[in-house]
Symmetry: C2
Subunit: 458 residues, 2 copies
């Protein structure tokens, strides 16, 4: 019996075990679920032991535990791959919008519905099952394998950075494999090679020393809300071009090759319009929608507050105004560079009669994974063989900070090979995962490990 | 004994009665105080009876009662004056910022501290005491007198309009007298002859059908907060000039005479800077601060809300944004005309990819009282004789909607002859009223009635 046959034979068992995994409400953000998170880590560790992983540990942190496992008996001449995933899940609110209870998984039309189904328990579990098949059929893994599965991804991984920095030797590897990104579309296996970074600022504008009557003072005392609106209007022009001096200095242009490769994806603007319910898209002239989303930086106001915001009319000239503004960055912008340029510019364009201050709340650098590594070649081959179709290269508009962590601390390239779909409601009610991708994903992953064994170590 | 001597002799008694009036917590907005408001109306009516007013009524409305009194035995050849004031007061929050309890009046350094001291109980009561003196000394009033003292001014006078429209005959008069405005400065008696109007709009911007992840969609889906900031930035330029087409079409220019008259006031910009705690004033080029405040229209954002406004960083591209925007108007702008022009313009400049809607929340037309009427001449003479100094003509930046009501329904000009001061904390903690102005106000008002008797009826 080969690996594919083993997987085929064990379909029902794998699905029923997945439902068991999904039943544990491992919501990391809610202290009320701390025991459940802990229980989920134990369940996963037990399962890893049961499939024959020689070393499995549940490692406590200041928050939720990390599950670590390894199987390093493939020998020194084959590469070591570190798989990263997370067993914690998002909260379930608004709970009344779920068709079925989020922790009582049901299978309908080939999809499993539950919180965590696609993000990320379902994807984590297909790796576990692929490893199980390899161990069962071949008695060993073709490569050296480490698994790092954390319980705090949905709350920003506060304890992962210190953990990785303290255990660089334990985690040393030739490539990192992550399955936490979507495929470009159903039936189109994809590798994500770029992630945007983030510079997140908060702007505060102080006007008069107290809320004033707008009748008694309007026309002489500058209004922080008007002032802040003017500042924000000067950050980006109507064509989506960011006006902060030097903002584009470090931006890597989309090469003609990448332009063609992204164009080949056939990004469907109409589907996006329907999805978000607007009549027209906006953005920088001269770039396609996929490029605007993935390969070009942008700027969004994430929050704006000031003055009277209740029902009706109150004639206040407020003392203060606040806005949260974030910029998505692309290689080779850095969040420190961009935050500084933005802060300098905002303070420079501050209108008279108000005090403007800017705070740097959060930042992440963009990532571009080289596409010409043996880890990527193996991934492409595994996906194409398994799906029987061309593997797509895509980028993502958001950030996955752990990718940078692995890059900088472990000096290992990350392969982002996800099996979820964009419309599977990650973070929303009725989250689900296509069981077809669950099973095909196992085969692809098992094949990936076999192909990686054929590459030389670095 | 003449009127002045009577008032002098009864100083202590008048003050002690004022404290009694101030002790009643007639907060009109709080249902918990409804009984107190009612008790205050009865107290005032009883007092008016006790000073010899021949007709005194407490008239119920759908809200708080109106106190009405008249004394019409001066004969057909002298004018009839309608005094308007209000016995209700603002709430007391933030209560912990008061040095003394707001309804336990204390006299310190010649000022009485209590909620309602300057706005408007103290000013109402000086009229009552002036009438008392005239009745006591002369046995009759020199003019026909009507008093209309409402209990809902601080909640927008919802029942006054219907009342005045229903009782035009009862309220018919040659002039309306109101003491609810400040003097220009201590020792400077003033008549307010202009009030700005108001057009108050709410702008709503709808973007995508739900809050989106700013990483996954930013750069292609227009952001309602950015869009609204851009709209607002296009309403007024950096010099305070409003950019709505046709906005200034009906604006009455400040005449050279009025410019000189306002300049003569010696408006103190430094005092305003210190008062509001900013380093510089703003506004339209070519106009003085007094002109910008009183004689020029302006535009202020009164509230702005959208997206994530809590602590920290959330990367949301919000579905909606909202702003409240009001414009202060000057003669001969009308609030309907300006609201329409503003709405048309806002819809025209709406950026692509969002739906913009504008709602007209509230409006009031500006007022300019003719300065060459016998009612004003008499007021000037009374103030100058009593204060021994020149009477100032000033305008106000806010609106007093009842002035328009009297103008349009009763066809009577309003004399705005107030005795409060700008820094007496109306609507704020530690509200107070200068007792010197309380007493001098009585003499001025009594003298005004005497001088009005010498004018002919219209």
């Amino acid at each position: 019996m080969n690996v594919t046959q083993f997987l085929e034979k064990n379909r029902a068992r794998a699905e029923s075990q997945l439902l068991e995994f999904l039943r544990i409400p491992s919501i990391s953000t809610d202290p009320a679920n701390a025991q459940d998170v802990s229980r989920c880590a134990s369940w996963l560790a037990d399962h890893l032991r049961s499939i024959g992983m020689p070393l499995v540990e549940v490692i406590p942190t200041d928050g939720h535990p990390i599950v670590y496992a390894e199987c390093l008996n493939a020998g020194p001449n084959v590469p070591t791959v570190l798989f990263y995933g997370h067993y914690d899940v998002q909260p379930v609110d608004p709970i009344d919008l779920w068709t079925n209870p989020p922790f009582d998984p049901v299978v309908k039309e080939g999809k499993v519905f539950a919180r965590g189904a696609t993000d990320d328990k379902g994807q984590v579990f297909l790796h576990v099952k692929a490893i199980e098949a390899l161990l069962a059929v071949e008695g060993r893994l073709p490569i050296n394998m480490k698994l790092l599965i954390e319980g705090e991804e949905e709350i920003g991984s506060p304890n992962l950075g210190p953990f990785v920095r303290e255990r660089t030797e334990m985690l040393a590897c030739d490539a990192v494999l992550v399955s936490d990104t979507p495929m470009f579309a159903p039936g189109m296996p994809s590798i994500v090679y770029g992630l945007r970074g983030l510079a997140y600022l908060q702007i505060e504008v102080q006007g008069p020393n107290r809320d004033l009557h707008s009748g008694s003072y309007g026309g002489t005392v500058n209004n922080p809300l008007n002032a802040l609106a003017c500042i924000i209007a000067k950050l980006k022009d109507m064509d989506g071009r960011i006006l902060i001096p030097g903002f584009y200095d470090s931006v890597l242009d989309v090469s003609p090759e990448e332009h063609d490769s992204l164009a080949d994806l056939g990004y469907d603007d109409n589907r996006l319009l329907l999805d978000v319910g607007v009549v027209t898209l906006v953005g920088e002239e001269g770039y396609t929608t996929a490029e605007r989303l993935w390969a070009r930086p942008t700027l969004d106001v994430n929050g704006f507050l000031g003055g009277f915001t209740g029902e009706g009319a109150k004639t206040v000239l407020p003392a203060r105004a606040m806005a949260k503004v974030s910029m998505r960055l692309v290689p080779y912008q850095t969040h420190e560079e961009i935050a500084k340029k933005a802060m300098d510019y905002i303070l420079r364009i501050a209108p008279p009669g108000v005090k403007v201050s800017v705070q740097d709340l959060h930042g992440a650098d963009p990532v571009l994974v080289p596409r010409d590594t043996s880890a990527i070649f193996a991934a492409v081959k595994a996906l194409e063989e398994t799906f029987g179709t061309k593997c797509r290269f895509t980028r993502e508009g958001g950030s996955i900070p752990v990718v940078l962590l692995f890059d900088t601390v472990l000096k290992a390239p990350t392969v982002l090979m996800g099996f979820g779909l964009n419309n599977e409601n990650a973070h929303s009610p009725d989250e689900h995962f296509d069981l077809n991708n669950f099973h095909i994903g196992m085969r692809a992953v098992a094949r990936y490990y076999q192909l990686m064994a054929e590459t030389s170590t670095r």
